[in-house]
Subunit: 160 residues, 2 copies
DNA sequence: AGGGTGTATGTTATAACATCACAAGGCGGA
DNA sequence: TCCGCCTTGTGATGTTATAACATACACCCT
């Protein structure tokens, strides 16, 4: 039962947390980036939670565990993790979510269920956008692709 | 020096404000939606400004013109305009921009220059995303597609 | 005219999200 | 040792957004 956030199917969760952490550790080592305790813990929290969390939600957890209670604590760790590609920011929700397939280079796309709030990560490869950019001379650096709708589970009996 | 939103080229600006307003009026009439003074003025402000503006920037203008100074004044008008499709919200910037081609149905994509802040609207048609959605059973309702990079003008000598 | 309904506006307060500025600690290299 | 760099801690503040409630106005129906 591979972890497949791509669909909205359930999966074995404990193993994917461990493997994502291991991957982050390896990547940091390779890049000589420091996966400090706070940073590591934030990543763990996001992985365990397995859904998009606001910075202040993360902060509350950190505070409860003695890491500090001020916003910059959380924001700095999150910024680091986003930079390293272990975590993605969901603009639409002002929230953060652990990457489902770290290690691979990607320009992720997200599907956000407006009913239950679940967020699934997919690959983007937006050719139309690249074409438009090329045509207008825009030098594309990063793309935010976030779809909103209803996940399979919420399609019956959801708020219309 | 306003620039055309589709490419990053400049264009005649006065005429596009007028035509967009006329279009909004016609559309509202057709839909029996009310383009009240505040709403109309907010649309004008965004059209005149011709770039992404924060809700509070808009609010400051409204206040200066006697429309009221409290956040809901601006947010409600903006929400109406977004609903009607006359204005788009740029998630990445927490800002709003007048639609460059109102009247036509569209699922817009944006190119945001990180140096000068200009925002250009393009068409999206993200097939990859639609495919992913279909495959996973996600019922797609709306897409946010925002690219970040450098506009032609900023590609020489920009902050790297 | 009276009364009900719906939409829009006005206002207070506060929630939620994010950053600045500065101090202090740890650690490696010159 | 001393310096420079990165990281953390903390207080204050800035920015974006909504909840909740009251009021006003237009419209329709009787």
């Amino acid at each position: 039962m591979p972890s497949e956030s791509l669909g909205f199917t359930s999966h074995d969760h404990t193993s994917c947390v461990a493997s994502a952490l291991a991957c982050a550790e390896a990547t940091c080592k390779e890049r000589k980036a420091q996966l400090t305790p706070v940073r590591r813990r934030v990543l763990e929290i996001l992985l365990e939670n397995h859904s998009a969390m606001g910075a202040y939600d993360v902060l509350a957890r950190l505070d409860a565990e003695g890491f500090g209670s001020k916003p910059p604590i959380a924001y700095r760790a999150l910024a680091f993790l986003v930079e390293q590609g272990f975590v993605h920011r969901i603009e639409r929700l002002n929230a953060f979510i652990a990457c489902t397939h770290p290690g691979t280079v990607h320009d992720p796309a997200f599907m956000i269920c407006r009913d239950c709030g679940l967020v699934a990560e997919a690959q983007s490869a937006n050719l139309a956008l690249q074409k438009a950019a090329t045509e207008s001379g825009f030098q594309l650096e990063q793309t935010v692709i976030e779809a909103q709708g209803l996940c399979p589970a919420c399609q019956t009996g959801a708020t219309t």
